[in-house]
Point group: D2
Chain length 141, copies 4
């Protein structure tokens, strides 16, 4: 495993909410991020579908990571927009994010979220957002 | 407690992910929803801030609820957009959603998310999205 | 007419596209902007409705103005999202924008667009976006 | 020129606002649309850049067209989100839209807007939105 991915995994392991969700970072390089979430029963809603909040978490976090991959570690997600395309009943979701445009202080990124079912992926949500570099002083309270 | 709020609380209790997050429905009437999330350590990220995914969950779920309050229970969130305004270190977030416009099949809704600190609320995120009524047959797999 | 509104009108008069559209700035103060567009036949689409592009122009420009009202004149719209609520057949649209949150370098703003018909206003679109302050050097090519 | 593109051009010629802008439909097939706008002085803002409203018009209209290419001609744009990536000084913009996901009644589509300068294209904005099929009766006033 390369150094950047190892570093990204360490950061994810330090995010209590990501640990609670059970997210796994499976790719992390300059301009590209892949995040997987195995779906446990407690990540679903009342009809058995994966809760939208899990899917938006995946998009939000993959967007933040991919923005950080080009802007450096001190970043925040300023905003994002997500379209849910179909309900997900499957046992694994995969968020893949890439950088559309990076300036010095912010990056516009995109994330597609797939559901994996019997070896076949289907797109279940797509997101677009802005990641912003912040001064270290703002970040550390 | 009125009947509509009681029904809404029952539905929330049936969402395993909302139970995992610990969300509480505190208001639910035609066109208005309030959702509170007490912040435990496992809802934070590596710097101690509330994880963005928790805030987007709150917005997403409050939007879905408020859409359902005017369209009926069989609804999905089609899409939403969220702007994060400030990092949250506090122990309680409150999502308040209202309906901007409701047609027969969809509603455009808004949600403001506040952080409560020492009795004072501050706006920490704002979201806007579309909730869509679906046929019952689509909903029940 | 106050000084700030007069200055805003001057800037609008220097935007050739705003002149082409025929937009009028009717309010401009710190945190609030109102823009009116009388609807001529050439601002409509093939069914006689006001073209969505006119409504998104109104939202975009009102958002930029209101962001500039708190950040200073050198601003750009980073992004916005708009929900169209109903088709507009009327002869006047009014975009009203306000600031939701302003930091040092960017402001998150909201804009509601109304159609005026026989003295009665109806909301026809709602938008939310981010306005960013830029260095003067970036701005002047 | 194929039949579908010819039909699309006819519709564009019937949109007075598109004629005012001077937009040209250069590709239109099931799931793909390309719209070009030669930049005249009256499509700019006070600093000589292409006005954001022209770019959002291009995205909005390309999204509507591409949605209509799979849903049929009676469609409206429900909502879209656009990120502006860089100011445009050039003389031609090109909006390319594709369908990400199409259901029976709505399609989620994406649009990238490019500026052409000395034979080289650069991405200047990216948009994502929802196009919805409507009953013919709603459409024809």
């Amino acid at each position: 495993m390369d150094e950047m991915l190892a570093m990204g995994k360490q950061v994810l392991a330090m995010q209590p909410f990501s640990v609670l969700i059970g997210a796994e970072l499976t790719a992390f390089s300059a301009g590209y991020t892949e995040l997987k979430i195995p779906i446990r029963p407690d990540l679903r809603q009342q009809h058995g579908f994966v809760h939208g909040g899990v899917i938006s978490y995946a998009a939000d976090n993959a967007l933040t990571y991919v923005g950080g991959s080009v802007l450096g570690p001190a970043v925040v997600t300023s905003e994002f927009k997500i379209n849910y395309l179909r309900p997900v009943v499957d046992d694994l979701i995969i968020a893949r994010a890439s950088v559309i445009y990076a300036g010095k202080n912010q990056a516009v990124c995109r994330c597609d979220v797939y559901a994996l079912s019997e070896g076949k992926e289907s797109l279940c949500a797509t997101a677009q957002g802005t990641i912003r570099a912040i001064g270290q002083t703002q970040r550390e309270p």
